[in-house]
């Protein structure tokens, strides 16, 4: 399956990846080979077969509604690259 530059950059943008011009050729070839391999799956007739969404038969793995804060603010914020005593900070998001 052919992938063009536009599709490559769209996928990269959606994943917030920066693609340098010298990387394009290798990435295009790699994506194409993956998709060509996937195309083989398209050859199988799946008419009338329900989509398989999960790999096990497990259902209803739920829990009771009991509240418990598992993480202190100090510990939670400590993992963030930027924070003050109250908030996690990120570069300004402009709307």
């Amino acid at each position: 399956m052919k992938i063009d530059r536009e599709a490559l950059h769209k996928v990269a943008h959606l994943a917030r990846l920066e693609v340098k011009p010298e990387e394009e050729a290798a990435l295009l070839a790699s994506m194409e080979s993956v998709l060509t391999w996937m195309e083989q799956l398209d050859e199988v007739d799946t008419e009338g077969v329900e989509p398989l969404t999960h790999m096990t038969d497990e259902v209803n793995n739920w829990r009771e509604d009991v509240a418990k804060n598992a993480l202190s603010r100090e510990d939670g914020l400590g993992n963030a690259p930027s924070h003050d005593e109250t908030y996690i900070k990120v570069p300004k998001v402009i709307e």
């Binding site: 259902v59 804060n69 993480l71 908030y87 990120v90 300004k92 998001v93």
Partner: protein
């Protein structure tokens, strides 16, 4: 811009009336569970920022979501109340997008197999002659999803601050079909949904705090045209009044654009409550590509018939059912029933009251009159109303058996009881000498005194000025210190005068 161009504010009615407005809503409603949808941290509005968090909420590596059973139950409750089909097999999907209030890089939502499908809500509005019009607004589906955190934009700082207390809060999203046709109807629809989630005890429905918020899709088309016009989405509306204002403005904006020959774009707009206008986002929005796929961390939910029936059996009566019951069983007018079922607590109080007195109409009048005035003036909810249904029922019996007059009851007994809510109305009335004077001889004397004191008025009355009767009654009432039975006074006066 030439002077012949129309603007949303300057648009002749006859042009506006050529177009039909088509509105569809996405209503997000936070569920009142104790913990979050997929993690155990506390689900509560407010609280110090970033104190209701867990490794899952912050998307730390190695964490796995686990579904809150209560949230599923609440969504089913809502679905049953709206006549939806409850999906016996439902799964969760990942909706992928990058935004800092969503640390995982995706929101867990439902795409292909939402928990409730179809159904709807009936809204009542008034037509031009003020007659009630009922319409059912259909739902496309209702699904479960998690809420995002909150971005705090501090003007002085170059950063955006993030509070993840809200991240992971369970939401139901109700997606309507494009069935709404006016701002008024849209307002009635949101009001009914808010009432419903409160009755069902699944949400506080508090719009100021963001528990209930809407995205509003608006388009216009010439009447008779089948295809929909180009729609605009107005995001994040959290007041019914502003929703209605935004719909009205947007309808006018779209009609004036079309009449000016301008093209409309499918876009997201925001509503400015200050100006009452909507505006497009400056940044050109690239089409969202959410790339939904089933979340492999969450197994499917299977709902058995028994489980659905168990949830159904525990559901409280719905506003519509109570309205019908109040009209058919207690014989009160539909309008009264509407007001009495506005909140579940008021409906409950009325039902208790009707268990203690058979004067249903009087009971309804008391709740809608003096009780409601008191609640409004004191800013109290009916749940905190000092008088028990028993006390109010006793007061109503005193009026209905003519032991005290209606005016004494409203003006004296009611305020006094509010001061001393534990007191028995009968005992209070006796102690305060409020019992109605139904002694014919005494009242007759008073009637004669009054008529003798105003011979001119009596003459005028006998010549045909029948409106003076009210004056005579009032004067006798005054002399009786408000305790005379107005019916008897009327009868006695009629005898003397005719």
């Amino acid at each position: 811009m030439t002077s012949t161009e129309f603007t949303p504010t300057e648009l002749p009615d006859e042009l506006l009336e050529k177009y039909e407005t088509v509105i569809g809503l996405e209503v997000h409603c936070q569920l009142l569970t104790d913990s979050k949808l997929f993690a155990s941290d506390t689900n509560r509005f407010g609280g110090e920022p970033n104190t209701h968090i867990s490794p899952l909420t912050l998307a730390l590596p190695g964490t796995l979501p686990k579904l809150n059973q209560k949230a599923v139950e609440y969504a089913v409750r809502l679905g049953l109340a709206c006549g939806c089909d409850i999906s016996r097999h439902t799964i969760f999907d990942r909706k992928n997008y990058f935004y800092p209030d969503l640390p995982k890089g995706y929101q867990i939502s439902q795409d292909k197999a939402p928990i409730c499908v179809g159904g709807g809500v009936t809204v009542t509005t008034k037509d031009q002659e003020n007659n009630p019009v009922e319409r059912t607004i259909r739902f496309h589906h209702i699904h479960l999803e998690e809420d995002a955190g909150k971005s705090v934009h501090d003007g002085s700082s170059s950063d955006t601050q993030l509070d993840y207390n809200r991240a992971g809060t369970p939401l139901v999203e109700m997606v309507s079909e494009p069935d709404l046709r006016s701002a008024e109807e849209t307002g009635a629809f949101v009001t009914e949904i808010r009432r419903l989630v409160r009755y069902l005890d699944i949400s506080d429905g508090n719009m100021e705090e963001g528990s209930l918020r809407c995205d509003v899709n608006v388009s216009v088309r010439p009447f008779g045209q089948e295809e929909y016009g180009t729609k605009v989405e107005i995001k994040n509306m959290n007041s019914i009044r502003n929703i209605m204002r935004a719909v009205e403005y947007e309808r006018r904006r779209q009609v004036s654009a079309l009449e000016n020959g301008d093209a409309l774009f499918q876009e997201t707009r925001m509503f400015d409550a200050e100006t009452g206008e909507t505006y497009g986002m400056r940044v050109k929005e690239t089409m969202n590509d959410y790339r939904y796929f089933p979340d492999p961390d969450l197994c499917p939910v299977e709902l058995t018939e028994e489980r659905v029936q168990a949830i159904k059996s525990q559901m409280p009566a719905l506003p519509r059912e109570l309205r019908e019951k109040f009209v058919s069983q207690y014989g009160i007018p539909a309008y009264d029933a509407e007001l009495l079922t506005d909140t579940r607590d008021m409906a409950r109080y009325f039902e208790e009251l009707c268990g203690l007195t058979t004067h249903y109409k009087t009971a309804s009048n008391w709740l809608m009159g003096p009780v409601r005035s008191y609640l409004n003036e004191s800013g109290t909810e009916i749940a905190a109303f000092p008088l028990t249904p028993g006390t109010l029922a006793e007061l109503i019996e005193l009026i209905e058996t003519q032991v005290i007059s209606h005016s004494v009851a409203t003006q004296k007994a009611f305020p006094a009881l509010l001061e001393e809510p534990g007191r028995s109305p009968r005992e209070l009335a006796e102690a305060s000498d409020w019992l109605q004077n139904r002694n014919t001889n005494e009242l007759e004397t008073l009637v004669e005194e009054v008529l003798q004191s105003m011979p001119d008025k009596v003459k005028a009355y006998q010549k045909g000025k029948k409106g003076l009767m009210g004056l005579f009654v009032g004067e006798v009432m005054k002399k009786s210190k408000g305790k005379g039975d107005p019916k008897m006074i009327n009868q006695l006066l009629a005898q003397k005068l005719n």
